[in-house]
């Protein structure tokens, strides 16, 4: 992709009031985000999406899909601020593993606030694709905890 193509994309974004644009091709990923009020904002986790090679050779002009990668997967986000724990206790196995099927009632983690251990449920059907936070990590309200594929 050359600078002219990027300029065209930015112009398209402005014309259509698109604030985020993500495109991936073999070995290449471009993410453009505009319109943030401030440079410094809350610590929204940027998902490090590994660039998977595309099976067939891509067409010369890649399809414009806004946030395509993120639309395929969804996220379990934290419903509260606290400390994330992947398992019920230090020596217990984690509640969920990558590749595990979950449903609405599956407990995926614990978030502790003021010494109260809150069990967090998946609240949807799907497969755990990735854990985005580490055991013992502080998480704020809305923080992405797990990437989950659609059931």
């Amino acid at each position: 992709m050359n600078i002219k193509e990027i300029k065209d994309i930015v112009a398209l974004m402005n014309e259509n009031e698109i604030t985020e644009f993500v495109i991936e091709r073999e070995g290449f990923k471009l993410s453009i985000r505009k319109g943030q009020q401030f440079e410094k904002g809350p610590a929204i986790t940027q998902v490090a999406v590994p660039i998977a090679p595309v099976a067939s050779s891509p067409p010369p002009s890649a399809p414009v899909t806004v946030g395509a990668k993120e639309a395929e997967a969804t996220f379990i986000v934290s419903p509260m601020i606290g400390t994330f724990y992947a398992s019920a206790s230090a020596d217990a196995p984690p509640f969920v593993e990558v590749g595990q099927e979950v449903d609405e009632e599956t407990v995926v983690c614990i978030i502790e606030a003021m010494k109260v251990m809150n069990e967090i449920k998946a609240e949807r059907k799907g497969t755990i694709l990735e854990a985005l936070v580490e055991n013992g990590e502080a998480v704020e309200f809305g923080k992405k905890l797990f990437r989950v594929s659609g059931g």
Partner: protein, 453 residues
């Protein structure tokens, strides 16, 4: 001094506290709801933590979330601002039990003054006049009627757990009292979780005059003179000024001493305000005590040249007050206008929305405390105050003249504001002469209504 403080609030007061912290070299942690992600206090703080969705109950009133944020950010103290958890004794206790200093009074101070009936008893003991009334909870309609018969109409029915002008009803005769009593109980239950009400005589044409006090942990108490807050609409303050045009130096000293006496009697710590009603004969009666920093604190800050928020932080850190009563001065005259995003011509309907253009007034003697900026989206979930203009001058005339200029200069587009109402009040001849009482705004609105009809 503290190294890190968490501000458990939002909007202009959160910004105010952050400013004081910055000047004291203290790192700041802001908490915010999802609706406030683009708020100015989030930007200005050193760290910011999202604690919940827009609803106050799940964010700014969410004690577990706030304490959790405080622990995660490893702060030493929490400043609660005003509103939200500022007068929640339970929250103050939880802070202390978690090893976090609550920047405000002791929990028992909050509890005592938060119970309006208990407060009256403490005030009486401190030899301060209280309004004639039930002086206790009124349990039923018959008891209410008996009280009214004794003290005479009109009367105010007030919520024991209320305050801040909320949960009050007026009654002019037996019939309206009987109805108002039951309604007041229901409203009190709904608003404060406690149906208990008491009754007080309603003064004719009172002025609302309050005294700012500061008390440290070593028993030192000073007052920072008074503010006249009589310009109110439905018991909500619109304009405040210091000094009160009504007070002689003798009366000022008397009221100041009374406020200090009360603070000493209850072992009060931190900043607080003792509110009085002043009648036409210079008698003043205790109304309530606010155990927090108040919206209108800048008015006092400007004429006494004392930074009240910094003093709160110093007091919370255990420092003794350096200020002596004899050195508290009155340098000029200050006036504040509270600017709300409301359509004052449509019964003050709140106007959330995007501020498309914004330019605050400036120049000599003008201070603006506001979190708003061009492009800011005013959320609909919180109170509608978007800023305060405070003007100071050598005299009341120059201060009010300056305020008229500042109101003209203020550009806020995209939402309706109460600036036009303030212009109306500031140009009113009675206001200009300093001759107003708590009925002033309602009277003015009546006149406006008639004009339009």
């Amino acid at each position: 001094m503290f190294e890190k403080i968490l501000i458990a609030n939002r909007g202009e007061i959160a910004l105010r506290i952050i400013r004081a912290c910055k000047e004291l070299g203290i790192r700041t942690v802001a908490v915010y709801s999802e609706a406030d992600v683009n708020s100015m206090h989030v930007r200005q703080a050193d760290e910011a933590i999202c604690i919940g969705p827009a609803q106050s109950a799940k964010s700014y009133l969410n004690i577990a979330a706030i304490i959790s944020a405080a622990e995660i950010a490893d702060v030493e103290a929490i400043h609660p601002g005003y509103g939200f958890l500022a007068e929640n004794a339970h929250f103050a206790e939880i802070c202390e039990s978690c090893g976090i200093r609550f920047i405000g009074p002791r929990p028992e101070n909050i509890r005592l003054m938060g119970d309006k009936v208990e407060a009256l008893m403490a005030v009486k003991k401190a030899n301060i006049a209280i309004l004639p009334g039930s002086e206790g909870v009124v349990n039923d309609r018959d008891a209410a009627l008996a009280v009214a018969k004794r003290i005479g109409y009109p009367v105010m029915i007030k919520a024991v757990a209320g305050g801040g002008g909320r949960g009050m009803r007026i009654a002019h005769n037996d019939v309206s009292l009987a109805n108002a009593f039951l309604t007041a109980q229901a409203e009190s239950e709904a608003g404060f979780g406690n149906p208990a009400v008491y009754i007080e005589k309603r003064l004719e044409h009172p002025r609302h005059v309050e005294v700012q006090i500061l008390a440290d942990t070593q028993g030192n108490v000073v007052h920072l003179n008074e503010r006249d807050c009589s310009i109110q609409r439905r018991h909500q303050k619109l304009i405040e000024e210091s000094p009160s045009p009504r007070l002689s130096p003798k009366l000022r000293a008397k009221m100041g001493r009374a406020a200090v006496r009360l603070a000493e009697a209850i072992g009060y710590v931190s900043a607080g305000t003792v509110e009085f009603l002043l009648d036409r004969n210079d008698y003043f009666y205790f109304l309530e005590m606010n155990t927090r920093i108040q919206v209108e604190h800048p008015v006092t800050e400007i004429v006494t040249q004392v930074d009240i928020v910094k003093e709160q932080i110093r007091i919370a850190h255990g420092k003794a007050l350096k200020l002596q009563q004899s050195s508290v001065g009155l340098f000029g005259h200050a006036i504040e206008c509270r600017i709300n995003a409301e359509d004052w011509e449509k019964d003050f309907a709140p106007c959330a929305g995007r501020v498309t253009a914004y330019s605050a007034p400036g120049g000599p003697g003008v201070r603006v405390d506001s979190h708003v900026y061009a492009g800011y989206e005013i959320p609909s979930h919180y109170d509608s105050m978007i800023g305060k203009i405070i003007c100071v001058g050598h005299t009341r005339e120059s201060a009010t003249g300056r305020m008229r200029r500042a109101l003209d200069e203020y550009i806020i587009e995209g939402v309706k504001t109460t600036i036009p109402l303030h212009r109306l009040i500031l140009s009113d001849p009675r206001f200009r002469r300093g001759k107003y009482d708590t009925d002033f705004v309602d009277d003015l609105m009546e006149v406006q209504k008639k004009k339009k009809a």
